[in-house]
C-alpha cells in the first residue's frame, strides 16, 4: 500500500485545524509513547501527531486525509495489547484523549453521554457518585471509553453483566470520508435495519472514529463481597465453575488464580496474599444491596464448592480484605511483566466448560516448547489471559518460539470451539491467527465491510483483516 507522505502543506492544514501547539511532527517532537502501545511489540512512529478537542476537527482531518490519501490512526491512552493503535503506515495519528468531557447524565433514561477520551475510572467514579453503575470492568482502568468500545472489552463482571457492546446505546462516528454519523441513541430498543453501531463496537478504529458515546447505566449495587476459594489443584477449581453456573446463581465475576502468579505478585507488591494453602483458587464476586442479600446468594455457592472438595471458602467482606485480594489481582499483569524481559499475550476465549482443558494444554506447552507461560483469567466467561515470557531468549529464538506457541494455542482454542480474542482485539499482532482460525470467507466478508466504510483504506489500515 502506498500513501502520500506528510509535507509542509499538510502540516499547515493540520495546524490551521488543531492549532499551532497541537501538532507534533517527526520523532523529535513526538513522544516515544505514541510509537507503541502497552505491550510494545509493534513499533512505528506516526509522521505527525495531532491533538483534537472536538468532532468537527476530526471530520475536517478525515476529509483532508481522504482527499489526499493519507493514513490516519486514532489513539486513546495507548493501553491496547495488540498494536491496534500503532500507526504502522505512518501518516497522521489523532490523539483523542483530550476529548475527555462527560457531557450529560440523563437520570430519566439512565444514560451517560461522554466524549471518547473519558477514562474508564472517571466514568465509574462519576456515576457511582450518583448511585449509578457502569458495569464493564476491564483491568486497565486508565483506558479511554472509546478504546474500550473499539475492542468491545468486557472485564471481570462480564459473567453477570455482559460486555461493553451491551452498554453502548448510541455513538457519534466520523467516517473515513469525514462524514459525521449518529448511530443509535438514548433508545432502549432498535430494529431499524442493520446495526451499524454494533459493527463499530469492536472495530478497533478501522471503520470510523468514535467522537461521542451514549452509555447505558444501571442502579449501583450497594455492596460487594468476594469469595476466595482454595482448591487442591486447578483442574478441580475450574471444573467447579460449570457446576456453579448450573446452580443458576450468577456471580458478578469468576476468576481463577494459580499459586505461581500469586507468588509473582507478592514479590512485585511486597505484600502477602491472604492465603497460601492451595495451588489454585477461584475468586468469586457477588454484588447486591445488602450484606444479608449477598450472604443468601453465596451460601449456596459456598456449599457447592465444599462439596466439590474445595479446601475452604474464604470470605472477603471489607475494604481492607478486598484490597488484599484485588490489589494482587490488579497487579498480575504488571507483576508477570516485571518477572521477565519481554512478553506477549494470548487472549483466547473458549466455552466455559473447556477452560480446564485449555489451561492444562497451556501447562503442557511449557514443557513441550521449553518456555514459561503464566496466566490467569476470567473463568466465568471462558476468557483466558496467557502470557508467554521471553526470559533469556535472543530475538530470533524468541520470535520463532512465540509463533510456535501461538499457533499451538490458537489451534487448540479453535478445536475447543473458541475464538482468538475475548477482549483485547486483533489489531496488527493477531491478524494472521484470526484468518487461520475463522477462515477465508469470514476474512473476505470483513474486508468487504471495511471497503464499504473506507474505500480508500486510509483509516487505521493494516489492522484486523
Amino acid at each position: 500500500m502506498t500513501y502520500k507522505k506528510i509535507d509542509e502543506r499538510d502540516l499547515a492544514f493540520l495546524r490551521s485545524v488543531c492549532g499551532e501547539d497541537k501538532v507534533f511532527f517527526g520523532e523529535e517532537e513526538i513522544n516515544d509513547d505514541f510509537s507503541h502501545d502497552e505491550l510494545g511489540g509493534v513499533h512505528q512512529y506516526p509522521e505527525v501527531l495531532v491533538e483534537v478537542i472536538e468532532t468537527s476537527q476530526v471530520s475536517q482531518i478525515m476529509k483532508y486525509a481522504f482527499n489526499n490519501n493519507i493514513p490516519v490512526t486514532p489513539r486513546g491512552q495507548g493501553t491496547g495489547l495488540v498494536g491496534a493503535s500503532v500507526a504502522i503506515y505512518g501518516g497522521i495519528m489523532i490523539n483523542m484523549s483530550k476529548m475527555n468531557r462527560i457531557l450529560e447524565l440523563d437520570e430519566d433514561n439512565l444514560t451517560l453521554t461522554v466524549e471518547p477520551g473519558v477514562l474508564l475510572m472517571e466514568i465509574s467514579k462519576f456515576v457511582e457518585e450518583h448511585d449509578l453503575f457502569y458495569p464493564p470492568d476491564p483491568g486497565e482502568k486508565s483506558a479511554t471509553i472509546a478504546g474500550n468500545i473499539n475492542t468491545n472489552a468486557g472485564g471481570m463482571r462480564a459473567v453477570k453483566y455482559g460486555v461493553t457492546r451491551d452498554y453502548v446505546r448510541g455513538l457519534e462516528v466520523v467516517l473515513p470520508n469525514g462524514d459525521i454519523l449518529q448511530l443509535g441513541g438514548k433508545i432502549v430498543k432498535n430494529s431499524s435495519g442493520y446495526s451499524i453501531k454494533d459493527l463499530i463496537v469492536g472495530s478497533e478504529g478501522t471503520l470510523g472514529i468514535v467522537t461521542k458515546a451514549i452509555l447505558k447505566l444501571l442502579p449501583l449495587p450497594k455492596k460487594t463481597i468476594s469469595l476466595l476459594i482454595p482448591f487442591p489443584n486447578l483442574e478441580m477449581a475450574i471444573e467447579t465453575v460449570p457446576i456453579i453456573i448450573k446452580a443458576k446463581i450468577i456471580p458478578t465475576a469468576i476468576e481463577y488464580i494459580v499459586k505461581d502468579v500469586i507468588l509473582v505478585s507478592e514479590e512485585f507488591l511486597g505484600k502477602k496474599f491472604p492465603d497460601h494453602s492451595a495451588d489454585a483458587y477461584l475468586l468469586l464476586t457477588f454484588d447486591g444491596n445488602s450484606t444479608e442479600e449477598i450472604e443468601r446468594l453465596y451460601d449456596k455457592v459456598a456449599r457447592i464448592c465444599l462439596d466439590q472438595e474445595a479446601l475452604d471458602v474464604l470470605i472477603s467482606n471489607t475494604q481492607e480484605r478486598q484490597d488484599s485480594i484485588w490489589k494482587a489481582r490488579g497487579a498480575f499483569l504488571e507483576a508477570i511483566k516485571a518477572s521477565t524481559t519481554e512478553m506477549d499475550e494470548c487472549d483466547v476465549v473458549v466455552p466455559r466448560n473447556k477452560i480446564a482443558e485449555f489451561v492444562k494444554f497451556g501447562d503442557r506447552l511449557q514443557t513441550e516448547c521449553h518456555i514459561r507461560i503464566r496466566g490467569f483469567g476470567h473463568a466465568g466467561d471462558g476468557n483466558l489471559h496467557m502470557y508467554i515470557l521471553r526470559d533469556e531468549l535472543n530475538q530470533a529464538e524468541w520470535e520463532e518460539k512465540l509463533e510456535e506457541v501461538f499457533r499451538h494455542l490458537y489451534q487448540r482454542a479453535k478445536e475447543l470451539g473458541g475464538k482468538v480474542s475475548g477482549e483485547h482485539g486483533i489489531g496488527f499482532a493477531k491478524k494472521l491467527y484470526l484468518q487461520e482460525s475463522d477462515g477465508e470467507v469470514n476474512t473476505l466478508l470483513m474486508q468487504s465491510i471495511k471497503r464499504a466504510f473506507d474505500p480508500m483504506n486510509i483509516l487505521n489500515p493494516g489492522k484486523i483483516c
Binding site: 469469595l227 491472604p274 492465603d275 465444599l306 475452604d312 474464604l314 467482606n317 471489607t318 475494604q319 481492607e320
Partner: protein, 271 residues
C-alpha cells in the same frame, strides 16, 4: 495456653465528613466492621494456637450488634467469644473502656497468659486502650510489637519498634502486647469455620457480672475526658505556581521545606 484478643467494631469507613454549620457527622447507614488493626491481633493468636496449641478468646465491648465481629472472630479461628454490653457503658472514653474490658477479662474462667490488642482503632486512633487494660489487670505490656520471635513455656520473645531501633525483649506471662499493622497478613474469615461455629454461644457480660459494680467507673460517668466539639480539619486547597530564576525557586523551596519541618535533623530522628 490462654490467649485473649481484644477487638472492636468500628464504622465501615473513616471517610466521614462534618457539617460545617451544625458540627455533626455526615454519614448515612451504620455499616460496621472489625477494626482493621484487630485482624492482625487475631491472626497472631490463631497462629500461636496452630503452632503451639492454645485457647483463643475474643472479647469486645459494644452494643448488641457487635456480636457480628465476634462471629467473625470465630470464623478466623477464635474458640470462645465474649461480649461486654450494658447501657451503663455508654459514652465511655479510653479510661472507662479499658476499665470495663479489664473487668471483663478478670471474669473469664481461666487465668490468661497472653492478651493481644491491635495497635489502635480506626475511629479513635488513640493506641491507648491496650496499655490501660494492662495497668488495670496488673500485667506488663509491650506496645508496637513488630514481630514475635519465640513462644516459650512461660514467656514470649518479641521485637518492639522503638523508632530508629528495635528492642528485642522477653516478657513473662501473663502479659499484654499491642501489635503493629503489617506484622502478618490476616487470614480471611472461613465459611467452613462458620458452619462449625454457627451454634457456638457468645458469652454476654454486663456490669452486674463484674467484680467492681461501681457505676461511677463506667461509661460516661467513668470518663475523665469529654469531647467539647468536633469539627472538620483544614484541608490543603492551596495551589501556588512559582516562577523565577532557579536560584530564587530553590531558595523558596528550601524555606518552605524548613517551615513544614521536612528537613532531617542531624541525629536522624524519625517523626
Amino acid at each position: 495456653m490462654e490467649i485473649i484478643v481484644c477487638i472492636k467494631q468500628v464504622p465501615g469507613t473513616t471517610e466521614v465528613e462534618i457539617d460545617e454549620e451544625t458540627g455533626v457527622l455526615k454519614r448515612d447507614g451504620i455499616e460496621a466492621k472489625m477494626n482493621p488493626y484487630d485482624l492482625y491481633a487475631i491472626e497472631i493468636a490463631v497462629r500461636i494456637k496452630e503452632d503451639k496449641g492454645a485457647k483463643v478468646t475474643a472479647i469486645t465491648m459494644g452494643p448488641q450488634q457487635a456480636i457480628v465481629v465476634l462471629r467473625e472472630a470465630f470464623m478466623m479461628g477464635a474458640d470462645e467469644t465474649v461480649l461486654l454490653t450494658d447501657r451503663r457503658f455508654a459514652g465511655a472514653d479510653v479510661l472507662a473502656t479499658s476499665y470495663a474490658l479489664a473487668q471483663g477479662i478478670k471474669r473469664l474462667p481461666n487465668n490468661v497468659d497472653l492478651i493481644i490488642c491491635g495497635k489502635m482503632t480506626t475511629d479513635g486512633d488513640t493506641a491507648q486502650v491496650g496499655p490501660e487494660i494492662a495497668e488495670f489487670i496488673g500485667v506488663p505490656h509491650i506496645s508496637n510489637v513488630l514481630n514475635i520471635l519465640e513462644i516459650k513455656e512461660r514467656s514470649i520473645v518479641v521485637e518492639m519498634d522503638m523508632g530508629h531501633t528495635i528492642e528485642i525483649a522477653e516478657v513473662n506471662f501473663p502479659c499484654l502486647i499491642t501489635v503493629e499493622k503489617g506484622i502478618n497478613q490476616p487470614r480471611l474469615p472461613s465459611f467452613k469455620r462458620r458452619l462449625e461455629t454457627e451454634s457456638k454461644e457468645i458469652s454476654v457480660l454486663s456490669l452486674n457480672d463484674f467484680e467492681d459494680q461501681d457505676e461511677k467507673r463506667y461509661g460516661l460517668n467513668g470518663s475523665p475526658t469529654q469531647v467539647k466539639r468536633i469539627f472538620p480539619p483544614e484541608t490543603n486547597t492551596n495551589r501556588e505556581l512559582w516562577k523565577g530564576s532557579s536560584q530564587e525557586l530553590s531558595d523558596r523551596l528550601v524555606n518552605k521545606l524548613m517551615e513544614m519541618k521536612f528537613v532531617q535533623e542531624e541525629s536522624g530522628w524519625q517523626r
